[in-house]
């Protein structure tokens, strides 16, 4: 990220992802590994927002299904992100149904109160947000905003794809993502986290 803003989050690797998926569909295992490495971090982040600590388990179920249904997928790299996010979401909702709990908007937030703070170590020159803190922030949003933000920002879907994953109109998802980010921004302001944060992040990466 040292070169400045990417044209659209996740987009620069879409071509590579699409090529890897196509080869994987032909049986190339190494290509599937490439696809996995590109997609998994975003999926895992999305799942953490939905199910919290059980994200790894749900991710396993998700990838089993992806591996099994790979032959059915049609599309490019961006489409693969959307398709896998949809599978992840279904598995997450199944998981939550089995546990008979609601999506964990409150659970992560509670954990967050015990965290030392937004910075993982005091001597970090780059004041980045710790993963747990960032997730806690997102989890504190209303569910529709959290999902919209996660899909757009973490998974890297565009508007229409995010709308399809969520089964909502693109306008509604756009609004939800916008509101979610605004709310997060104001929370960060309130906690004084953004000293030099955004301005140094781009340079140091």
């Amino acid at each position: 990220m040292g070169q400045g803003r990417q044209p659209h989050r996740g987009r620069t690797s879409d071509g590579e992802l699409g090529a890897a998926v196509a080869r994987a569909q032909e049986g190339d295992e190494a290509a599937f590994a490439v696809a996995y490495r590109i997609v998994q971090p975003g999926l895992l982040g999305y799942l953490r927002g939905l199910v919290g600590d059980e994200a790894e388990d749900v991710a396993s179920d998700t990838w089993l299904e992806i591996a099994r249904d790979l032959g059915r997928f049609r599309g490019e790299g961006a489409g693969f992100r959307g398709w896998t996010a949809t599978i992840a979401r279904h598995r997450a909702l199944d998981h939550l149904r089995r546990l008979k709990v609601r999506p964990r908007a409150s659970a992560l937030e509670q954990d967050m109160l015990d965290l030392p703070g937004p910075h993982s170590t005091h001597d970090q020159a780059l004041e980045s947000l710790s993963t747990e803190y960032a997730l806690g922030l997102v989890a504190s949003l209303p569910r529709d905003q959290a999902e919209a933000v996660l899909l757009r920002v973490v998974v890297g879907l565009d508007g229409p794809a995010a709308a399809r994953v969520l089964g909502k109109r693109p306008g509604a998802v756009r609004t939800a993502a916008h509101r979610g980010l605004k709310r997060l921004a104001s929370r960060l302001d309130a906690e004084g986290v953004t000293d030099d944060g955004p301005s140094t992040l781009g340079e140091s990466r």
Binding site: E56, F73, R74, A78, L181, G192, P198, L201
Partner: protein
Amino acid sequence: MPERHDSDGPPTPPAANPSDLAELLAAAVRGGAVDADAERRVLAAFRAARDEGAHRAAARNRRRDDWRPERVRRGGRPVRTTLVALVASLALGGVAVAAIGSGSGGTRDAGAERGGPLPASSASTGPPVTAPNQSAPAQADRGFSRPPSARDTEAHCRAYDSVKKHGKKRGQVLDSTTWQRLIQAAGGAENVGAYCAEQLAEKKEKKKEKGNAGKSKPGKSPKAPKVSKTPGGGATKNPKSTKSPESKAE
């Protein structure tokens, strides 16, 4: 973002820019390295699926797996399906309005009317299903006066649905005649899934209309029980058997 180290008082942090925040958040939430064990298991699953032949291209026929760019723009619906839904909802709207006005004397007429516009709307998807259409007046004479085409199709679609949902073999659930009827109505085997989704959605719509229209609907009570799941067998259902007395009084 302007830095304020040189301000007079304690430095105020610059307002968090939501789009910068997005980058920050993305990096933070995605977190660290990929788990090597997890990756090994995933690759093993891939090999297992591949070696079982699960990845053969012949398996491709579910709309939910179609993420080609033109499909995503339309929210996953092909244009044709959207048009069918539009035409069908217009036709049903017209039928419902007409049926409200027909009253108790309109048993036969309304039955024929219902038989009428529905094949007209399915004509836009393919050749109309002619057999149920012909039996509509005969049904009405016997006082059954329900649109056999809609009921049959609905039953067929439910059977088809059970194939998809419960993974049964299609041959067990749908005989070939039924399957052919579905293909005809939907205008092609590949459209059956979408066609059935529309049909079942329309049925919900119709139920609402019936509920609104009340007793003027011929031969049916608003709480019509679901059609039996026997494929192609809906035509002989006796409305008297399970429904409330009011259903025949009109």
